[in-house]
Symmetry: C2
Subunit: 361 residues, 2 copies
């Protein structure tokens, strides 16, 4: 078998990730392409005495929704969706794209308007237990520039579904990350060095989050929000990024007193500059994250995976997560990834934490 076994995957999601229990109502969103996993998740939830509420999107339905939607539908939401988010106990979102560029023809401004309008639904869902994951499809494999079976095997390894006890493997990574968080929580200044990169920023007083696979499957990162005016230096992001299907690569940023003061990109420079001008917070960093997942050995064009590559560091332009102590506000949250594996270093108050992609704890 090359890809994830649906039953083992479903057990990991309903158990380790969601801990779904008797009587709990669990909304499960995906497309019909994830049918094997959806049926296994339904089975697992029923065995746990929970209520599976499947919301399965038909191929083409999202694209046709955007083609037909009117202003009132872009700028609003059905009240039943908010009620559902408020009345259910957990939600599981399984990416299973038929075409990762399905919405390439939709005006990004309309997508942004809809995201703003639906904020109450999103926020209500985030107040409950939630998890986001991916089921490998030919389209997701194509985005990764892999064969479909090859990509399915990659996904299986990324989620530790090739291990005898995937949940135990995640708990083990979580324990390693707990030590990393302990070390980072005592640090004031982080420095990232690599070819074209020498950036310092402060994380003094900020809270580090141990992302151990419960909310993102796969995960494998620790992150916080840097002190807003602290970043100084320059950084070259060596891993491409595909926000909303736009290809952006070779991004280089120069930061002074926390703000991006110069920016260029090999591809997607126009998109980069427009994004930086979205609002004042878009030029500040909202997150610094450190990837730890050794099962993710290369970028696949999906941020769910790429930001967790063991041996990388990522910074997000824009909004910070309040639970980190970060205070930056913006409509933007764009993760950009710097690969340190081919030669690079992450230091904390002058002490090497990671060299050429390997941790030194």
């Amino acid at each position: 078998m090359s890809g994830p076994d649906p039953r083992a995957f479903a057990r990991l999601l309903c158990g380790y990730c969601l801990d779904a229990g008797a009587g709990q109502q669990v909304v499960v969103r995906s497309t019909t392409l994830a049918a094997p996993l959806l049926l296994a998740v339904q089975h697992e939830l029923l065995e746990r005495g929970a209520w599976p509420l499947l919301r399965t999107e038909l191929p083409g339905a999202a694209e046709e929704w955007w083609a037909a939607a009117r202003d009132a539908q872009i700028d609003g939401f059905p009240p039943a969706e908010l009620a559902e988010a408020e009345q259910t106990d957990a939600s599981l979102t399984i990416l299973a794209p038929e075409n990762t560029t399905a919405l390439a023809g939709v005006d990004p401004e309309r997508i942004a308007r809809a995201a703003r309008a639906r904020a109450p639904v999103r926020e209500a869902a985030l107040r409950r237990r939630w998890c986001g994951t991916l089921w490998p499809t030919p389209s997701a494999a194509q985005q990764a520039r892999m064969g479909t079976a090859e990509f399915a095997g990659f996904v299986r390894r990324a989620m530790f579904l090739d291990r005898d006890d995937p949940a135990a493997a995640w708990a083990e990574l979580g324990a390693m990350q707990a030590r990393l968080v302990e070390r980072l929580s005592a640090a004031s200044e982080l420095r990232i060095e690599a070819d074209g990169t020498d950036l310092r920023l402060s994380v003094a007083g900020r809270t580090w989050v141990n992302s151990d696979g419960r909310r993102n499957m796969p995960s494998g990162e620790v992150f916080t929000g840097p002190v807003e005016d602290s970043a100084e230096g320059r950084i070259r992001f060596t891993i491409p990024s595909s926000p909303r299907g736009v290809e952006v690569s070779g991004v280089e940023l120069e930061l002074r007193a926390g703000r991006v003061v110069a920016a260029r990109a090999d591809r997607g420079q126009e998109y980069l500059l427009a994004t930086l001008d979205t609002d004042p917070g878009a030029r500040l960093l909202g997150e610094i994250g450190i990837g730890t997942n050794a099962g993710i050995d290369r970028p696949v064009g999906a941020i769910l995976f790429d930001e967790k590559i063991g041996g990388t560091v990522h910074l997000a332009l824009g909004r910070s997560y309040p639970e980190t102590g970060g205070r930056n506000e913006s409509a933007v949250h764009w993760d950009l990834i710097c690969d340190l594996r081919a030669g690079g270093r992450l230091t904390a108050d002058g002490e090497v934490l990671q060299q050429d992609g390997a941790f030194r704890l």
Copy 2:
């Protein structure tokens, strides 16, 4: 084109049947096999400013639900489903089976328990605007013993989707039925005569319902609840019936003072006798209906169509619809159909209403 055009079908459903308007939330239930119609319904609802809430079942999901469900899930329901039924404006249920006998292996008693438990959800949905219809699938064609394209053409004609203006054709049938209802409302005693059939029953004081395609698509029937103790005589139901996938044919009933006192069947006699013993109301008639749809020219093993065949009369064992003035209560509501087209007569207070399947109004 042999089958229903999805756009025309969607317009009929969202317009004539549901009259969906701006801001209304419309729950649409079906299986992935109805994808072309579901996408067209989504489009039509968006154009009307309504909110489509698609609930699309995966092939195999229902069968696997029943295989894994535990007692608490059989005997309960997720509160979010009741909330949805109460908070939305309309519901559209589109039968689109992958296998009409998918639940043949499920204990009928468990299905009955689940139906009882979910009564509050069902009743809440019925208090809103609702419509039930069918999208032709290979499985539904097989049940009808037709080729898939042949059955699709049959469905198209049954729903008047072969007409230039289907909604106008339905309104025209509704006007004809209004005259029939007017005539029947003045009648006391109905008599059904055919080979093996001579039954009299009273409909004095009862209300006739004009079923003109808004709640069932297709429809084409008028019905009421007969006076509970009035039926006298015998009747042979010449059109087979498939309650819950069980084949029953050649049913003959003898009734005295409204109660079934003798019963036999060529096929499914055991099921027939067990059904009559379900509860006291199961031996009484809850409905008499008269089919008027000339587009439905033969039985297809789906009650949505068969009970509307122009030139037939059907009686239901069990529960009556309260809006007719019928007062019979039962867990059973089983429509059995008597074809009068090959030689038969329906008279009202001695005046012929229908002879050999043709109305005389």
